[in-house]
Each structure stands twice: as C-alpha cells, then as structure tokens.
Amino acid sequence: MEYVYAALLLFKAGKEINESSVQAVLTAAGIAVNESRVKALVASLDGVDIEEAISKAAAAPVAVAAAAP
C-alpha cells in the first residue's frame, strides 16, 4: 500500500505521478523500491481520475442497503 500512498502524496502536491517521482518519495521514506511495482502503479494510474476515486471513498458510506425483496 505504501506505493499507493506515495502516489496520493504526489497527487495532493500537484506533482506528476511518474516512475521517478514515486521512486523519490519511497526512497525518502527509506524503502527499498521495487521498480516493477512502481512501473505497474504508474501504468495502472494512467487515465484514472484520482480525485474521483478518493472522493468516492469519502462518500462511501455505510449505505450498503439491503435490497428490498
């Protein structure tokens, strides 16, 4: 999950999420970075609306209502 937090940090900072920026954040945390995971993360975020994804978490409430029969 630490890779994802690195991406979120960069996102909040308004920085581009790319391999080197993610790597930099993880390295600063003292983490031995797995290059492939960084690549995979960056690739998977391509085209994703991060703002929307995290705002859904904020909404994601409790409302898993049972469907009426």
Partner: protein, 281 residues
C-alpha cells in the same frame, strides 16, 4: 343392522344406497363441517366444486347406516358432528383440503364465535356521524372518539386475540365497522382414502412455509454448486462472479496495481487515511 334397515322407509333406504353408490364410485369419502354456512354460499361452493368433488348433505343417522355397511368406512362415523356433510372426490385428501381452503370466504362474526386470528382495528376516521355509536364502540373495547365532527378510532388496537371468544358487543361493533373476521367454507373434518383415515390436522399445509421451503431447497443447491465450484447452467455465471470477486478482494488487499482495481485500491487508501485522520484530529 341389516334387519333394522328393512324397517326403514323407502326414502331413507334410497339415501343410504345413494351414499354407498357414491362411496364406491369415488376414491375419497370425506366429512365436512357445514356449520354456519349460509345457503347462498353452499350453492357457490357446490358450483366451484363441480367436476372435482360432490357434496352431499343428509342426516347423520343415514350416514352412519351407510358407513356401517361399508366395513372400513365405519371408522369415519366417529368423526361425525352435528353439521357434517359428505364430500366425494377422486383427488387425494391433501388436494381436497387445499381445494376447500381456496373456496373459503370471509364473513361477519356471530356472538360466541372464536376469532380465527388477531382482530385489529386500525386508527383513523370512520364514516359514522356522532351518536350512540361512540358508546357502543367504546363498550366493545374500541377506542372511539369524536374528532372534527366524525367518529374516529384514536389508536390501532387488537380487540381480540386469535382463539378468544368474540362477545356480543364486539360482534355487533365489528358488523358496524364492516369487519369480517370469520373464514367460512367447508372444513374438511376427516377423509377416508385408499384404506386410511386422514385427519384435518395432518392435511393442513402451511402454504407459505412450503413455498419458503422450495426457496430454501433452491438456495441450498445454488450455494452448494457455487461453493463446491461444480458449475451448472444455472450457476456458472455466479461462480465466475465469485471468482472475480475473490480476485478483486485479493488485488485490493495486496494493493496490486491493475487497471481493474486501482480505483478501489485508491479508495481504500483514502478511507484508511480518513480513519487515521479522525483519530489524530
């Protein structure tokens, strides 16, 4: 018994042989309770049963005679009550029972009758204008009052519980409120079918419970098929959904960066961050 029969008037002899004829013609001979069924309804019931069952009303003594001469049938005589009639059909007793249940209708209760279910009076206005009716309802235990020039029931109340007697005051009040709590129709008392006597309590099937048992059985099969991963036409889709769901669960848990789940992973990270922020303030 035979000797005695000789002295019966012809019409009685005819009745007895009619009963015997019907009993040999049909697979099932049953006793039904006709108590309290108005003539009009008896006609309706007869019409509804046409082609499926034959109803015969006659004196108990004649029924006993006929049964007495039919060996096995004699067992049914002990179930005769004051308002018994005969029913004949080729259906089995369970079918007949449910057929008769379906012909039942609602009627007003007479004083002294037993409530078949809880009788609940709902709150709300009635169509009555203020008058002695208010007192009558109140005496019957119904919370009536006058509101805005109308007789109104103040609160929803159970006025009599299932199995309790409906007294005269309540019976009158229920009639006024047009509440018909009584089920009327032919009640099957006992049936003689293929050598055995079936009592009513055996024949009563709870349709809702039965329907639910079908749903349960189908659910069991569905669950077994999916959980044991034995795919059938009906469950292959559900098994795939389960497999994918599990895969997604693992992917999110492991924060696997994959296009299909990355939004869920981000959402989860965010939710965790929010939870922690709540604590740290």
């Amino acid at each position: 018994m035979g000797l005695y029969t000789v002295h019966l008037p012809q019409w009685k002899k005819d009745e007895i042989s009619e009963i015997k004829r019907l009993a040999s013609e049909y697979k099932l001979v049953g006793l039904v309770d006709m108590y309290g069924i108005p003539a009009k309804q008896v006609q309706d019931i007869r019409r509804n049963l046409r082609g499926k069952a034959e109803l015969k009303m006659t004196r108990n003594t004649l029924i006993e005679h006929a049964f007495g001469e039919q060996g096995d049938l004699g067992e049914l005589s002990s179930r005769l009550s004051g308002h018994s009639a005969l029913i004949f059909t080729n259906e089995n007793p369970f079918k007949l029972y449910s057929m008769l249940e379906k012909t039942k209708t609602k009627m007003a209760a007479r004083p002294g009758e037993t409530a078949p279910e809880d009788i609940v009076i709902s709150k709300g206005p009635t169509s009555f204008r203020p008058g002695p009716i208010v007192g009558e309802l109140q005496q019957a235990g119904i919370p009536a009052a006058i509101e805005a020039g109308k007789v109104t029931i103040r609160e929803t109340k159970t006025v009599v519980k299932a199995g309790q007697e409906i007294n005269k005051k309540l019976a009158d009040a229920l009639v006024k409120l047009d509440i018909k709590p009584m089920d009327v129709g032919l009640a099957l008392q006992a049936a003689f079918y293929e050598g055995s006597v079936y009592e009513a309590d055996v024949l009563a099937i709870d349709e809702t419970a039965f329907y639910n048992s079908i749903i349960s059985a189908a659910t069991h099969a569905f669950n077994l098929s999916v959980n044991a991963c034995y795919p059938t036409k009906d469950t292959a889709g559900a098994i795939i959904t389960k497999a994918v769901r599990e895969a997604r669960g693992v992917a999110v848990e492991a924060a696997v960066a994959s296009n299909d789940v990355i939004d869920a992973v981000l959402g989860r990270a965010q939710a965790q961050a929010m939870a922690l922020q709540n604590i740290t303030g």
